[in-house]
C-alpha cells in the first residue's frame, strides 16, 4: 500500500484537486450559471501562493510551515471573493452561452496579465515554490480535507434557504424573482463561492507543482472541468467529484496505449455523454441507493429520468 502510494501519490492528489475544481464549477451551476471562470481564480490563487511564499514570507530553513499555506489560502479566498463580486455583478447579467464566453474572456485577460507582470515572472513564471512536505503525495493532507469540506458544505447548502434559492433560479429565474428571490444577488453569491474554492485549490496546486506560470489555469482546463461536471453529473454534489476523480485517472489508466490513449479518452467521453446524458451520478441513482438502505421510505420522484435537462438552459 505504501509503495502503491509512493508511485501513485501524485496522481491521487491530482485527482482530488481536480474534483475540487469540478465543484468550483458546480457551485455557480447550482444557480443555473454556466461559468468557466474557475481556472482564472485558480491561477490567481496559485500566483498568490507563489509570490507570498517566495517573496514575502521568509520562514527560514526547514520545511515550509503549513500555517503559512493556510494564510495563503485565506488571502487567496479573500482576493478571489472580492474579484468575483467585481466581475460577477456585470457578467452575470448575461445568460447561458454568453456568460460562458464572458468568463472565458476573463480567464484569457488574467493569462495575458500574468504573462506581462514582472512580479509574476513573465512567461517563465515563478520557480522553486517552497515545500511543506517531503513528497508530492503528502499534499493529499491538504487536498483531501479541502475536498471533503467543500462536499459537506455543498451537501448541507442544498438543504438551506440559500441552496434552495440557487435551485429556484436554476429552474426558472422569472418565477424565482416573483417569489421574492433577488436573482442578481443570489447568482453573485453562487459565483463567488465557486471562485473562492478555485482560488484556494490554486494555492495548494502551486506548492504541489512547485512552479507556477501562465500555463496554469487556461481555457483548456475550463473545458476539462466542464467535462468533469457533465460526465460526472451536474445535478448532485457527488457527480462533479466522481467526474473529476475518474477523468483525471483515466488517461493514466490508459497509459499503456501510448498516444492512442487520448483518442480512446475522447471516445469514452463522447460515449459517456450519449449513454449518461445526465452524467454518471443522477439524483435518481442516489434515491435508489437511499431507498435500498431505508426500506419503506418513498423516493423523491424520479420517474422521469429519461427527460434530460442541460444545466445551461
Amino acid at each position: 500500500m505504501a509503495e502503491f502510494y509512493t508511485t501513485y501519490g501524485f496522481l491521487i492528489t491530482s485527482m482530488v484537486l481536480a474534483a475540487a475544481m469540478a465543484l468550483s464549477l458546480y457551485l455557480p451551476l447550482m444557480a443555473g450559471q454556466l461559468s468557466l471562470a474557475s481556472p482564472g481564480f485558480y491561477a490567481i490563487g496559485g500566483y498568490i501562493a507563489a509570490v507570498l511564499s517566495t517573496q514575502v514570507f521568509h520562514p527560514g530553513p526547514g520545511p515550509y510551515p503549513l500555517y503559512l499555506v493556510l494564510i495563503e489560502m485565506l488571502v487567496a479566498a479573500l482576493v478571489s471573493a472580492a474579484l468575483a463580486v467585481l466581475v460577477g455583478v456585470p457578467a452575470l447579467r448575461l445568460r447561458g452561452i454568453y456568460l460562458a464566453l464572458a468568463t472565458i474572456a476573463f480567464v484569457e485577460i488574467l493569462r495575458i496579465l500574468s504573462l506581462n507582470l514582472p512580479i509574476l515572472g513573465g512567461a517563465v513564471g515563478i520557480f522553486g515554490i517552497p515545500q511543506p512536505f517531503n513528497t508530492q503525495g503528502e499534499y493529499i493532507w491538504l487536498g483531501l480535507p479541502l475536498l471533503l469540506i467543500a462536499m459537506v458544505f455543498i451537501y448541507r447548502l442544498e438543504r438551506t434557504r440559500m441552496g434552495r434559492a440557487f435551485y429556484a433560479i436554476r429552474e426558472d429565474e422569472t418565477a424565482a424573482d416573483a417569489m421574492g428571490i433577488n436573482p442578481t444577488a443570489t447568482k453573485v453569491i453562487a459565483f463567488t463561492m465557486g471562485a473562492v474554492l478555485a482560488g484556494v485549490v490554486g494555492v495548494i496546486a502551486a506548492h504541489f507543482l512547485n512552479t507556477w506560470n501562465a500555463r496554469q489555469g487556461t481555457f483548456d482546463s475550463s473545458i476539462n472541468y466542464l467535462a468533469y461536471v457533465l460526465i460526472g453529473g451536474s445535478w448532485t454534489v457527488f457527480g462533479p467529484v466522481v467526474g473529476g476523480l475518474l477523468l483525471t485517472a483515466l488517461p493514466e489508466i490508459l497509459r499503456g496505449l501510448a498516444s492512442f490513449r487520448f483518442i480512446l479518452f475522447g471516445i469514452l467521453i463522447a460515449v459517456g455523454a450519449i449513454f449518461f446524458p445526465q452524467g454518471i451520478i443522477t439524483p435518481e441513482l442516489l434515491s435508489r441507493f437511499r431507498r435500498g438502505r431505508q426500506p419503506g421510505r418513498p423516493a423523491s420522484g424520479g420517474q422521469q429520468a429519461s427527460q434530460t435537462h442541460g444545466p445551461a438552459k
Partner: protein, 271 residues
C-alpha cells in the same frame, strides 16, 4: 377618477375597505402595438376582483406590469399607498404581492415541498454559514419553513405527495401547488392568472370555494384573470373588463354583465 370617465359602465368604487392596490393610467406598448392603454382601477381590501376580456385583451400584461415582470410604459401602480412602479419583481413580492402564472411556472425538477419552501425565502433570514453548520436558530427556522410548507400543501390537498417532483403532477394539481407556493410568501394581495384553466366542472366549483376560504383565512385581497364566465360572475365582488387594451367596463358582476359593450366584446362571442 377622471381617467375612467370616457367609457360606458364604469362604476365608481363601491364604498368599503381601504384601497390596497391603485392602478393609474397603466399603459404598455410593444413596438407599435399598444397592449394596454390607460387602464385605471382601485382594488379594495378583502375584495375578489376579476379581470376579464377576450384573448389578447391585455389581461396578463396588466398582471405582469403590476408584479414588475413587464416594465410599465406609462402610468403607475401603488400598493398600500406606496408607489411600486419600476420596482423589481422580487421587491414587489417582498412587499406582499404574490402571483401564479397562466402557463404554470413551477420549479419542475424540485419536489412539491421544496417549491413551497422556496417561497418562504423573504420570511427567513439565516446566514449561509449558520445554515450550513446547522446553528440552533437556523435549524429552528428550517423546521418552521418545512412545517409551514407542509401545512400549505395540506391546505391544497397535496400533503401526501410532498416529495414528488412538481413536473409529475397533473395539470390541476400543478395549479393548486402554484397557489400553495404563492401563499407561502404570506401575501396581502394574491394575483391568480387563470386559476381554473384545465380544471373540470367539479374542480372549478371547488376552486371558487377554495378562493373564498383562503381570502378569509389569510386576510387576502384577490385579483384574478379568468375565462370561465360563470366562475367569475359567481366569485368576484367586482369585475374589470378589458378589450384591445382598453378598460371598457368596471363594476359589480350584475351590472357589467348587462353592459352592451361588454356583451359585444366578450360575452357575445359565444364563450
Amino acid at each position: 377618477m377622471d381617467q375612467l370617465s370616457s367609457t360606458a359602465t364604469i362604476e365608481p368604487v363601491t364604498p368599503g375597505g381601504e384601497v390596497v392596490l391603485e392602478v393609474r393610467g397603466l399603459t404598455r406598448r410593444f413596438g407599435g402595438l399598444v397592449a394596454v392603454n390607460d387602464v385605471a382601477f382601485d382594488v379594495r381590501e378583502g375584495e375578489i376582483f376579476g379581470l376579464i376580456g377576450p384573448n389578447g385583451a391585455g389581461k396578463t400584461t396588466v398582471f405582469n406590469m403590476i408584479t414588475g415582470l413587464t416594465p410599465v410604459t406609462k402610468g403607475s401602480v401603488a400598493l398600500h399607498g406606496e408607489n411600486i412602479t419600476g420596482l423589481k419583481p422580487y421587491q414587489i413580492a417582498q412587499r406582499g404581492m404574490a402571483r401564479t402564472f397562466q402557463n404554470i411556472r413551477l420549479f419542475g425538477n424540485l419536489s412539491a415541498l421544496t417549491n413551497v419552501e422556496i417561497a418562504r425565502h423573504t420570511h427567513t433570514g439565516s446566514g449561509i454559514i449558520a445554515g450550513v453548520i446547522g446553528l440552533p436558530r437556523a435549524r429552528a427556522e428550517e423546521r418552521l419553513t418545512r412545517q409551514r410548507a407542509l401545512e400549505l400543501l395540506a391546505l391544497v390537498g397535496l400533503a401526501d405527495r410532498a416529495e414528488e417532483k412538481a413536473r409529475n403532477f397533473p395539470y390541476g394539481d400543478q395549479r393548486r401547488l402554484e397557489i400553495a407556493r404563492a401563499l407561502a410568501l404570506q401575501p396581502k394581495v394574491l394575483l391568480l392568472d387563470e386559476p381554473a384553466a384545465g380544471m373540470n366542472t367539479g374542480e372549478k366549483a371547488e376552486l371558487s370555494d377554495f378562493i373564498r376560504r383562503i381570502r378569509r383565512d389569510f386576510d387576502l385581497t384577490v385579483l384574478l384573470i379568468e375565462h370561465h364566465v360563470p366562475l367569475v360572475m359567481g366569485l368576484c365582488d367586482r369585475i374589470a373588463v378589458l378589450d384591445f387594451g382598453h378598460l371598457i367596463a368596471l363594476g359589480a358582476p350584475e351590472i357589467v354583465q348587462r353592459d352592451r359593450r361588454v356583451i359585444e366584446a366578450y360575452l357575445g362571442e359565444g364563450e
